[in-house]
């Protein structure tokens, strides 16, 4: 790789013949915005040529024009482009209007190029800084995207502070491979892995039962990014847009651009948010009376009732209000050569469960420097330090998680500590949840550096062509230390209770991603305004992970170091992968009327059986701006219409290690042993391939007051990777293979309206409606189940002709397995509103998810504990109460139907009201010192309407892991947030 970066530009110089330019005249002037403030960095181009300049710090430009008359195009990011005809060397001052429609913003369509949205052939979704984080401060980036991107299903897996989200773009991409999008921040491939903490499963034994996956919902590391630093997020939802990312693009790509400095006075932005969170919906306590308390507990119940000691333990555990404080400070500015953005932030949020919470500090420095008109470099760097205390929730097989313990806790059980702080044992469970909360530790601490650099060098430029070299390098390194401590005084750790006298575990992960790329981009424009953009490039990505976990039991006193105990168990996981790819793309633009692209990416990787075998991912697209043709009636109510078509292919790698059948190590009586693993490797495994066809149109009505985007897609996942279950009698449980095809088809409709726009009052609204349907079209292995707890409790089933995400189960003794639901929503609808009245702005976002089912087992466990709030209601049968029904007619009868529940919801995702102090007032108060002061109140998930019988239909016991979203087993409940923000700009 290094060789390429060094040698290509120099070699190219031999091919470059200097072109003589004949100066015919110079046009100069000042470019300003609507408020008459100079616009530095605006671009001035002689239309039909690649002759262009940028304005300086004061908005001044001066351009040499070869022949008059000529048309000058003035553009600047975020402003509507203006064209002015000049007939001679003269002074032309131009004022640019801010773009209202977003049509002028650029979207990335190649690895080194971008086009204006109005010329894009893909439905690329973009979320701006304002939409992302300004209505109400979000906790994590992925959470902040919820409801804002058409075609996505973003699910919060856990309410535990620090995140835990899964993002599905246009349905499920892969069943066993990665199905989370690739995240790229300023050109750096960043890691979004979650690393399970050793020690949690050792106590919960969650993986020991019916489902062998870790169920403790570790944070996915995209949560480290600070949403406030982000300038824009661009989402390539499927292979047609993401083919340029080849083997890593199938699940879509989320391209994040962080804020950059602008030329001009140094701006200081400060904001402080404080607030609190609280549980979205408590389930309540069963109404216990002498009639429904069992004989064994009757005396205890009466005694507690009569002494007023019946306790609402749900409120005791989840009823806290967590304090939230976000402080952020940013400085940005620059001169005509160098600009910078520096951001500092500190976020703290306590969870609704005591001793949980997150602290996160972020430092960012972005620098852009222009050596001369031809060479630019940029550097972005980010350091993150975060610490999250996540509690102990979800499934267990030992009665130890806080969630499971709560299901067994009755109001008359006394769990409170005595005057000396000693907790009593739980009379009805293996653990006392109040003691667990008070004494256990489950902490993830992360130190992370993300650094990216790019070089943009124009090698030559003439009137009608230019060649530039783009080089990019980046690395994302983090070290995560997870600490899990269960001290020996915990009920379930005491020897007399069969415990192991304390558990302390440390899991250390060092993860490094590095990526390098070099591109050559050639622009050529013919005289009749047909332009060609050619790019070729090479990419290299390296991934390395090393996780070491040590679990110590039988601790010495209160010591927690892992050498301070009798027994150590260690584990290590390593991952090393290197990918190498090339990329070539040709873009055609005929007078902004016809836009076409063809391209191909080739990839090879050490993760494939043959590390040097290429996998090719082609793409092609076509868009026609009908409104730019002469025949279009410019006065029509339909002022803009662009049909578009895009096709592309992208891949998903097999899970690392799929190639090998590796023996596991074991120990007996002091002798180390080797044993066969559950999964048999497959040296012939290949990446799975997604083929996506996207069709649609963009239309503008009434001079773009109303915009409509309509997209249909058909995404085929071919040779999809399966961890195919094999007959257990082979000695293996599963093998890796490429085993079939499935498809996702969907519709995405987006309507944005500028309903009212006057000086004092404006109202803009966006409706997004989208749906996705999937079907397994070919299955090379027999129908198989995965991802739940068996047929009598509901699980997922991959079956030819059926939805990929169907939930199946039995409905009675000996009944066949039938479809009971599907996690795929019928549709989703979001409604974003932005209202402004004078200095007040009000924004709110409604999110309606209709349909989609969950497997709710929290309810069932509560029934078994006799504690479910609706135990004595009669929803299923007029004669059998719910608790008894779910047990006797549900579980005991092998009927999973009562556990599959509709997980529809309607939420007020975000609402924010902001007041900006008028500038005249500020001038009176502070003179010129302060540019802007805003005060806002906001909230997230303030209104939640759902029928679902638990804390929140957005939940996942298995995290973002594969298919198994929407299974609920006593999670950390989600919370709503109330926030107050003061911000100032100097």
């Amino acid at each position: 790789m290094k060789r390429t970066l060094r040698s290509v530009p120099f070699t190219l110089l031999f091919f470059v013949l200097p072109m003589m330019a004949f100066a015919q005249g110079t046009v100069s002037g000042v470019v300003t915005d609507a408020n008459n403030l100079p616009l530095p960095g605006a671009t001035v181009v002689v239309k039909g040529t690649s002759n262009g300049v940028s304005t300086d710090f004061d908005g001044n430009y001066s351009i040499t024009v070869a022949s008059f008359p000529a048309t000058l195009q003035f553009s600047s990011l975020g402003y509507a482009t203006k064209e002015i005809e000049v007939s001679s060397a003269s002074t032309v001052d131009v004022s640019l209007e801010e773009s209202a429609t977003g049509l002028e913003e650029v979207v990335i369509t190649g690895l080194a190029t971008s086009v204006k949205r109005s010329n894009a052939a893909n439905a690329v979704a973009t979320v701006s800084a304002a939409e992302l984080a300004e209505v109400t401060p979000p906790q994590t980036l992925d959470g902040a995207l919820s409801g804002k991107v058409v075609g996505t299903l973003i699910n919060s897996n856990s309410g535990s502070p620090g995140g835990g989200f899964s993002v599905r773009l246009r349905g499920l991409t892969s069943i066993f491979g990665n199905n989370q999008p690739l995240y790229i921040v300023d050109g750096v491939y960043i890691s979004n892995i979650s690393v399970a903490s050793s020690g949690l499963n050792a106590v919960s034994a969650a993986a020991g039962g019916g489902n062998a996956s870790s169920q403790d919902n570790a944070t996915n590391r995209i949560a480290d990014l600070n949403p406030n630093d982000i300038a824009s997020v661009e989402i390539l939802k499927g292979a047609s847009g993401a083919a340029i990312y080849g083997s890593r693009g199938a699940a879509g790509v989320i391209i994040i651009t962080t804020k950059k400095g602008k030329q001009g006075k140094t701006k200081v932005n400060f904001s402080q948010t404080i607030g609190f969170n609280q549980i979205i919906r408590a389930q309540g306590v069963r109404n216990f009376t002498e009639d429904n308390v069992g004989a064994a507990d009757l005396a205890a119940f009466i005694a507690a009732r009569d002494s007023g000691n019946l306790v609402d333990y749900e409120d005791e555990i989840f009823g806290n209000e967590g304090f939230i404080s976000n402080t952020s400070l940013s400085l940005s500015g620059g001169n005509d050569k160098t600009s910078f953005y520096a951001g500092f932030s500190r976020e703290g949020e306590d969870g609704i469960v005591q001793n949980t919470g997150i602290d996160r500090s972020n430092i960012r420095l972005n620098i852009d420097h222009r050596f001369n008109d031809n060479i630019k470099i940029g550097l972005s760097s980010n350091y993150i330090n975060s610490s999250a205390d996540r509690g102990f929730f979800n499934n267990d097989n030992s009665g130890t998680t806080i969630g499971v313990a709560l299901t067994a806790t009755r109001p008359w059980d006394n769990l409170f500590p005595d005057a000396n702080g000693n907790f009593p044992d739980h009379p009805n469970n293996a653990s006392n949840p109040l003691q667990t909360i008070a004494l256990m530790t489950n902490n993830e601490r992360v130190n992370r550096f993300i650094i990216g650099g790019n070089l943009d060098a124009t090698l030559f430029r003439t009137d009608n062509q230019s060649l530039k070299f783009v080089g990019r390098a980046g690395t994302d390194f983090f070290s995560q230390v997870a600490t899990v401590i269960f001290p020996q005084e915990l009920q379930f750790q005491r020897i007399d209770q069969g415990g192991v006298n304390g558990v302390s575990a440390v899991t250390t992960t060092n993860n490094r991603n590095a990526n390098y790329a070099g591109f050559l981009v050639h622009n050529y424009r013919t005289e009749n305004n047909l332009s060609f953009t050619t790019q070729v490039g090479l990419t290299n990505e390296q991934f390395s992970q090393n996780t070491v976990g040590v679990i110590t039991t039988d601790l010495i006193g209160s010591q927690t170091n892992i050498d301070q105990g009798a027994n150590n168990t260690t584990n290590q996981f390593r991952l090393e992968q290197e990918d190498f790819g090339f990329f070539a793309q040709e873009e055609f633009n005929y007078q902004d009327k016809i836009l076409a692209t063809i391209g191909i990416r080739g990839d090879k990787s050490t993760n494939n059986g043959d590390a040097n075998e290429f996998f090719y991912y082609p793409k092609g697209s076509l868009a026609v701006n009908l409104h730019n043709f002469d025949f279009w009636n410019g006065d029509s109510f339909l002022n803009r219409l662009k049909p578009r078509f895009a096709y592309g292919e992208a891949g998903t790698f097999a899970v690392f290690g799929s190639l090998f059948t590796l023996l596991n190590s074991t120990l007996i009586d002091g002798s180390v042993g080797v044993v066969a693993p559950g999964t048999r490797g497959n040296p012939a495994i290949q990446p799975e391939r997604n083929r996506e066809l996207e069709l649609g149109f963009d239309a503008g009505f009434f001079n773009d007051r109303l915009g409509l985007t309509f997209t249909y897609y058909n995404k085929e996942a071919d040779d999809f990777l399966i961890n195919a279950q094999v007959p257990g009698s082979s000695g293996f449980v599963a093998t890796q293979r490429n085993g079939g095809s499935f498809r996702n088809r969907g519709l995405e409709i987006s309507l944005n309206a500028n309903i009212y726009d006057k000086e004092d009052f404006s109202w803009g609204a966006t409706f997004n409606w989208f749906r996705n349907r999937s079907e397994v079209t070919r299955l090379d292995v027999p129908t198989f189940n995965l991802g739940g707890f068996g047929n009598s409790l509901g699980q997922f089933q991959i079956e030819e002709g059926q939805s990929v995400t169907q939930i199946v189960g039995t409905t009675g003794p000996g009944t066949p397995v039938t479809q009971l639901g599907d996690t795929e929503p019928d549709f989703q609808l979001t409604w974003q509103n932005d209202l402004r009245y004078k200095d007040f702005t009000l924004s709110f976002l409604w999110h309606w998810k209709q349909g989609g089912d969950n497997i709710n087992l929290t309810q069932l466990l509560s029934d078994f504990g006799g504690t479910s709030a609706d135990f004595d209601d009669f929803d299923f049968d007029p004669n059998i109460n719910n608790g008894t029904f779910r047990i006797n007619n549900g579980l005991f009868a092998g009927n999973a139907a009562p556990f599959v529940e509709d997980a529809s919801y309607l939420r007020l995702r975000e609402v924010g009201l902001k007041y900006s102090i008028p500038s005249e007032t500020l001038e009176n108060w502070f003179g010129d010192a302060v540019d802007n002061i805003g005060i806002g109140v906001s909230g997230r998930n303030l209104i939640n309407i759902f029928d679902y019988n638990s804390y929140d239909p957005e939940v996942s016991n298995f995290g973002g892991n594969g298919l198994s979203q929407g299974v609920e087993v006593t999670p950390f409940p989600s919370s709503k947030r109330f926030l107050f923000t003061v911000s100032a700009q100097f």
Partner: protein
């Protein structure tokens, strides 16, 4: 102009391709463990010891599920866990799912160990190490005895639903054999192993765990093999052969009843803890004796010491437990694979029709050891069968025998059902993934 551009583009493309081709990637290494081929392609001495330790270790995987489920079927005890209600539902009602843990965990665990053993057998066939003929016979005799044991465990669960025995080639699995064929095949494996063990010299070229103490030489291990074969022959009702086999086994009418072969446990590293240990008086996770175990006991039977009266009874879905099962007193206690007590009871069983007096004297060894007086009941085969099954129930409590014993004597219907919904199954279903 156009020509130049085409030339230029061609040059760029050429450069890119040249650079690209020169960048080779190396095939990946298996970073996280030993590849399975290492053993099957050529077994070395060092690998042999580790593979044997792996086999002994894997015998314990899934043990709790296997024993708990069989003990619930046999109404010896209930296992309740607040975290998985199916132990008080499916397993007790016999409404068994062919694709969940109580079906698949024991099946997969036993066959995984069969895979371990077959891998070593394949490695032994391909070995270039300097094993002597006697050593090879010893290894083979050991491995075939262990594989037969794993098949017998599978047979116990699957019974009339059958098991596969020919599973060495994982891509071409052999047919399902019914219970008669399976037992015959298991018997043949054990007999073949006995022949190998007899010619295996004085020592194995590997070490066994302390659970095999006294049985860790070819001749000692052969005694275990003969005991196991006697159990198989009793299941097949070949009683004369049972007696012959017991003579070559470690049966000792006057010896310690707990002499035998055991699974061992520890808390060190990747070792396993005894999964059958639960401290007394737990609330959420309990093993409680079926009430009939206490109700039916004879006065003074010391075997009642295997259960302990709880401070508070537990009630899980109307199944009530008053006594904790307390066979194992710590999480590192050994779990028996086969004990002298079972062999003596097998001797009684083998004699009950042909030699009632010998049967009674064996029964009395057991009764006396439990603090009971000599047997004073009738001497018919049927009466002796009742007595032997009764003694087996108390002597082998919680060791996965009663369900199998009542099944082979056609007495499953005699097992008590505490709720109207409850039933005792005949066999565990064939796992869904076997595609039967």
């Amino acid at each position: 102009m156009m020509k130049k551009i085409i030339k230029l583009k061609g040059a760029i493309a050429l450069l890119a391709v040249m650079t690209f081709i020169s960048c080779d990637l190396e095939d990946a290494d298996s970073l996280n463990g030993l590849s399975a081929d290492a053993i099957s392609s050529n077994l070395s001495r060092a690998e042999l010891s580790q593979a044997v330790a792996g086999i002994l270790s894997d015998m314990r995987v899934g043990l709790a599920t296997q024993i708990d489920v069989q003990s619930i079927f046999g109404r010896e005890y209930y296992f309740f866990t607040g975290s998985d209600p199916r132990f008080e539902a499916d397993v007790v009602t016999a409404n068994l799912d062919n694709n969940t843990f109580y079906t698949t965990t024991p099946w997969n665990a036993r066959y995984a160990n069969v895979r371990n053993i077959n891998t070593v057998l394949e490695g032994l066939a391909n070995t270039t190490a300097d094993f002597s003929t006697a050593e090879i016979a010893g290894i083979r005799g050991f491995l075939n005895t262990m594989i037969a044991h794993e098949f017998l465990m599978l047979h116990n669960n699957q019974f009339s639903n059958g098991i596969r025995l020919d599973v060495a080639d994982f891509d071409n699995l052999g047919p399902f054999l019914n219970e008669t064929e399976a037992l015959t095949a298991i018997f043949n494996l054990l007999d073949q192993a006995a022949t190998d063990l007899a010619g295996a010299g004085d020592a194995f070229p590997f070490t066994l765990s302390s659970g095999f103490s006294g049985f860790d030489t070819p001749s000692g291990f052969l005694q275990f093999n003969r005991g196991l074969t006697a159990r198989v022959e009793a299941y097949r009702e070949n009683y004369p052969n049972v007696l012959a086999l017991l003579g070559d086994s470690f049966m000792d009418m006057t010896g310690d009843l707990t002499t035998g072969v055991f699974h061992t446990f520890s808390l060190t590293g990747a070792d396993l803890a005894n999964p059958l240990f639960i401290a007394l008086n737990q609330a959420a996770i309990v093993r409680v004796a079926h009430s009939s175990y206490i109700d039916d006991a004879l006065p003074g039977d010391t075997r009642l010491g295997k259960v302990v009266l709880r401070d508070m009874p537990v009630d899980f879905s109307d199944l009530i437990g008053t006594h904790d099962v307390f066979i194992y007193q710590s999480n590192v206690d050994n779990v028996p694979i086969m004990r002298n007590e079972e062999l003596i009871l097998l001797a009684a069983e083998a004699n009950m029709m042909s030699n009632p007096a010998a049967a009674v004297s064996a029964i009395n060894v057991i009764r006396n050891a439990a603090g009971l007086a000599d047997y004073a009941g009738g001497m018919t085969a049927a009466e002796l069968e009742d007595e032997i099954l009764f003694q087996r129930r108390y002597s082998l409590f919680g060791e996965s025998h009663r369900w199998i014993d009542t099944r082979r004597f056609g007495r499953l219907a005699e097992l008590p059902n505490d709720r109207a919904t409850d039933n005792v199954p005949m066999a565990v279903p064939v796992p869904f993934n076997e595609n039967q």
